[in-house]
Symmetry: C2
């Protein structure tokens, strides 16, 4: 079955695929670079001249990335957010996406919630849903996103150089703390907990920050599997090493209140943050601070790129191991 | 986990995701429009100037689109083939793809077979795998394909006009006959049956035919859900009706030998054909015949676009219903 909005005479049912598309996913787009959207064998798109096309795909599967009872609105948000976060980490401007949805059975209330969460985020970033597929199967969602970036300004993982600062946006660790609290059945009426939960359920891709970092960051990655692991990947890709100062980690008050002495461990290994971790030549620090004034979240220097290889954690100036009890990504 | 080829220290195992990528999916590409392939947050691609980008996505799920025992080579072929077929139906030239693979557990033999089938087809069409995702979950594969077509020459579904001929490539019905024979446990040593099975297991997307039909076909769709249903969709999109002459259907000798009097029904409703159904203004028929000389499969006129709406089947010149016992798509 396709997101083609056409009659599907062969498969009658209370809510067939054509009805799913028409009712939940076919929306007009204001983008004039969408020549042909949902409703044909392929979408037809007009990429801008002189820019590279940045493309990423991510899949969320029930049982692996979310639980069956997850609010469909949060899931619709998340599957687009994790993809927009990939574009943000390249310094790319989001434009188009495609959605493939695998559903055990079509449930109108679930679909309405999913579409609400999906389009609320898509609209905020000017992203058009231009095509997709719906199939019967275990609950899973795959999004492919497309964005634009001048090739020379794309923020790859591989550009970090010894002496560059290591920086991170936001307050990593919040999302996993929210997730663990939810799993523990903590009191959702607690405002600090609600803030952590929102960070887990509705991660905000740092698209504007990614765009602002074009021409400044020497390398960038988004933090999906945990700051420690993703930064290590960036350093490997750059052929460099790094030192991360544990005391410099930007820990939110809500995280510290909830996790106490384990807050730093959660920030390093929790994952699901969808913050940006990047490296910055020293002489760009002033411009960064200038541009970051527009952001409603902190940006913090947490370390330094070094020659050699490997990521060293420093606590009280001394190398230390990853804190015990570090959270293993779900 | 990502197709990023980086170390994945957090998830040790006999065959972790990084090893899966390196061993099975990271291959050099000859395409110089791939600025950055697998290994970063997003791929960076250089679309050609002056052409539209055609994009499609299709998902295959175990239990819905294939059975657990399906040869992984056939599955790797199929998940790319069904997507290339969508591009063919737009008259687009394939270029890049992304793969998202959901696996219950990584099995090297299975992955090797899947990758073999996938890349054999990709290489034949000059398609580069530029990114993707691997996740733990029920067996499913999603491919997003990208191709190029001058916007004015794209073969949409909506251009059919009364008087145009209705044409189809190849011999529809073979694939479903192969599928049914396999399900019946028929003797695989029978050469006629082997031909039908190959049509089911290794559908050949009609990419070259789609390119040759640029500027000739007034509308086009690929036949995935059955000729009758997909042609009906094309006619709805075009705001036209149509007459299909049942006796004109190109039935293969193997299909007729296997299905006897039900051959036409299978050709009309079987699905899984991945042939092209298109409409052609009368004055383009000569050029079509000329271009089709290069093809190793037939192209056959099976009807005529009419004013009004609806698809009428004609047998012995009289309107008739879809043959009873028509195959319901899996």
């Amino acid at each position: 079955m396709r997101l083609d909005g056409s009659a599907d005479a062969g498969r009658p049912g209370a809510l067939d695929e054509a009805a799913i598309i028409e009712r939940f996913f076919r929306r007009p787009s204001a983008r004039d670079d969408v020549l042909l959207g949902i409703g044909d064998d392929a979408a037809l798109l007009a990429p801008p001249a002189g820019q590279a096309l940045a493309v990423a795909v991510d899949t969320l599967v029930e049982g692996t990335h979310f639980h069956l009872g997850t609010d469909p609105r949060a899931l619709g948000h998340r599957v687009l957010a994790v993809n927009l976060s990939d574009l943000a980490a390249m310094g790319a401007e989001p434009a188009w996406c495609l959605l493939s949805l695998s559903l055990p059975r079509p449930d109108p209330a679930w679909l309405a919630g999913f579409a609400d969460g999906f389009f609320a985020l898509a609209d905020r970033h000017g992203v058009a849903l231009v095509g997709g597929d719906t199939v019967r199967g275990p609950l899973a969602a795959t999004v492919t996103v497309h964005g634009f970036v001048p090739a020379a300004q794309a923020c790859r993982r591989s550009g970090a150089r010894p002496g560059d600062g290591i920086w991170v946006t936001g307050t990593p660790g919040d999302a996993v703390a929210g997730r663990l609290a939810q799993a523990d059945g903590a009191d959702a009426g607690d405002p600090a907990l609600a803030a952590l939960l929102a960070r887990f359920l509705y991660p905000e891709p740092r698209v504007a920050a990614g765009l602002a970092l074009r021409g400044l960051a020497s390398a960038m990655i988004d933090v999906s599997d945990g700051l420690h692991q993703d930064l290590a990947r960036l350093l490997v890709a750059s052929g460099a090493g790094g030192e991360l100062v544990v005391e410099a980690l930007p820990l939110s008050a809500a995280l510290t209140a909830r996790a106490g002495g384990e807050a730093a461990a959660l920030a390093l290994t929790g994952g699901d943050d969808y913050e940006l971790c990047f490296t910055l030549p020293e002489h760009h620090a002033g411009q960064l601070v200038e541009r970051a004034r527009a952001w409603d979240f902190p940006v913090t220097r947490i370390g330094t790129v070094t020659a050699g290889s490997g990521l060293t954690l420093l606590r009280a100036g001394q190398p230390c191991a990853l804190p015990p009890g570090s959270y293993r990504h779900f």
